[in-house]
Symmetry: C2
Subunit: 136 residues, 2 copies
Amino acid sequence: MIRIGDSGEFSKTITESDVYTFAGVSGDFNRIHIDAEAAKDTVFKERIAHGFLVGSLISTVIGTKMPGEGAIYLKQSMSFCKPVFIGDTCKAIVTVDEIINESKGIYRLTTKVFNQNKDEVIDGYAIIKYTSKGDN
Amino acid sequence: MIRIGDSGEFSKTITESDVYTFAGVSGDFNRIHIDAEAAKDTVFKERIAHGFLVGSLISTVIGTKMPGEGAIYLKQSMSFCKPVFIGDTCKAIVTVDEIINESKGIYRLTTKVFNQNKDEVIDGYAIIKYTSKGDN
């Protein structure tokens, strides 16, 4: 049973290895992520993590914690509020916000990611389908 | 100069290695992605790729092709229309949809991902900031 206000979280330090591995898997070798010298000439002044790498922590909460196995991802909306740098520790927090259709198991979740300074780096929401484990 | 209708694309076969590497980087070890036996008992009947892994191809287009370097990701919204299985070949297509504020360099892009059967697997849009290379 999912109730409004239920929540789960997952935190992880975003390492240099994560960023380079993510570049290799996704194909996104934009220099802002992988070239420390080129990054100096940008507004960020240093390499930043891919937004989708940081956002994937939201997926981790939904897929493993809230609600976890059986969840089917229907939608994700993300606003990238602040950059995440290599070495930042990010915490994704997912909270049930609205029961859209209980019989069909459709829920809206707020999905936020914060850095170690409690700055919000991603704000957004997800829509998921969740009936019960194994039923999906 | 970015014009409405400008577009770019990137395609990639999603491998088993990609899915397992993405699980390791994100922390999302939901069995639907990594346990072939458990996946048989789901509606999908086999392991599926993480939605964020597939969605990352959109980021690759934006970060490396359309518009490429200098783009700053402000927002991404994605609807996950169909599952992506290991071995599927996905193509992300990004098209400039709206010039929100040309002087500030704010653009809206449609962001779609298709599989090898031309089924849409992700539908959505992005908002980006892009002035010119190096200015950001």
